[in-house]
């Protein structure tokens, strides 16, 4: 049987790994966005999670997937 101390270390390491994976995944999702620039120099940035950006992201993925 594993010593208690080793078990704690293993559990901690697993928790850190899982946490970093979740964080990384969320950070990756946040990289998805739509930036619209107008003629007057103003700009609107829509995060990938926003419903307005969803269709544009889908169309962009179609373009990127084109062989």
């Amino acid at each position: 049987m594993l010593p208690r101390r080793l078990l704690v270390i293993l559990l901690l390491a697993t928790a850190v790994l899982a946490g970093s994976l979740v964080y990384r995944r969320r950070a990756m999702r946040q990289r998805e966005r739509v930036d619209l620039y107008a003629q007057d120099g103003s700009m609107v940035s829509m995060p990938g999670s926003s419903p307005d950006a969803a269709e544009l992201l889908w169309l962009a993925r179609e373009l990127l997937a084109q062989p």
């Binding site: 739509v34 990938g48 307005d52 950006a53 544009l56 169309l59 962009a60 179609e62 084109q66």
Partner: protein, 131 residues
């Protein structure tokens, strides 16, 4: 040099750019790095994307759209309107945004200049016929 050559130069300069298309004001394709049916499909999808982005812009009360970037995990799609024409490109993930916009604008300017030169009537060693 023509529009196709301008696109080849763009691809040579910008390693981040994958596929490019230039559209005329009426939506027809002027030039593309893709060929045949693929180019047509690409142009069609770009038109759709820009139209959808234009609606999103109008909803927000923004003035006319000059450029856009749609960033996904697989890569980005850029579009720039310059003069009457539109240039759109796909890139690899995490592109240098400012650089891609600069290169696309430069390419579009080159194409516009070429079109202007073509449209200008050629001056020939004209002499006054009445003389």
């Amino acid at each position: 040099m023509d529009a196709t050559q301008a696109l080849s130069d763009l691809k040579e300069i910008s390693s981040q750019v994958v596929d490019v298309v230039i559209l005329e004001p009426d939506g027809s394709m002027l030039a593309s790095t893709l060929g045949g049916e693929q180019a047509g499909r690409f142009a069609e999808r770009v038109t759709k994307l820009v139209a959808r982005a234009d609606s999103a812009r109008a909803v927000r009360g923004l003035p006319d759209l000059s450029q856009l970037e749609v960033a996904t995990l697989e890569g980005s799609v850029f579009a720039v309107r310059g003069g009457e024409r539109l240039i759109a490109a796909t890139t690899r993930p995490d592109p240098t945004v400012g650089l891609v916009f600069y290169d696309l604008k430069h390419c579009l300017r080159t194409v516009d200049e070429l079109a202007e030169q073509k449209a200008k009537p050629r001056r020939r060693g004209k002499t006054d016929a009445s003389a």
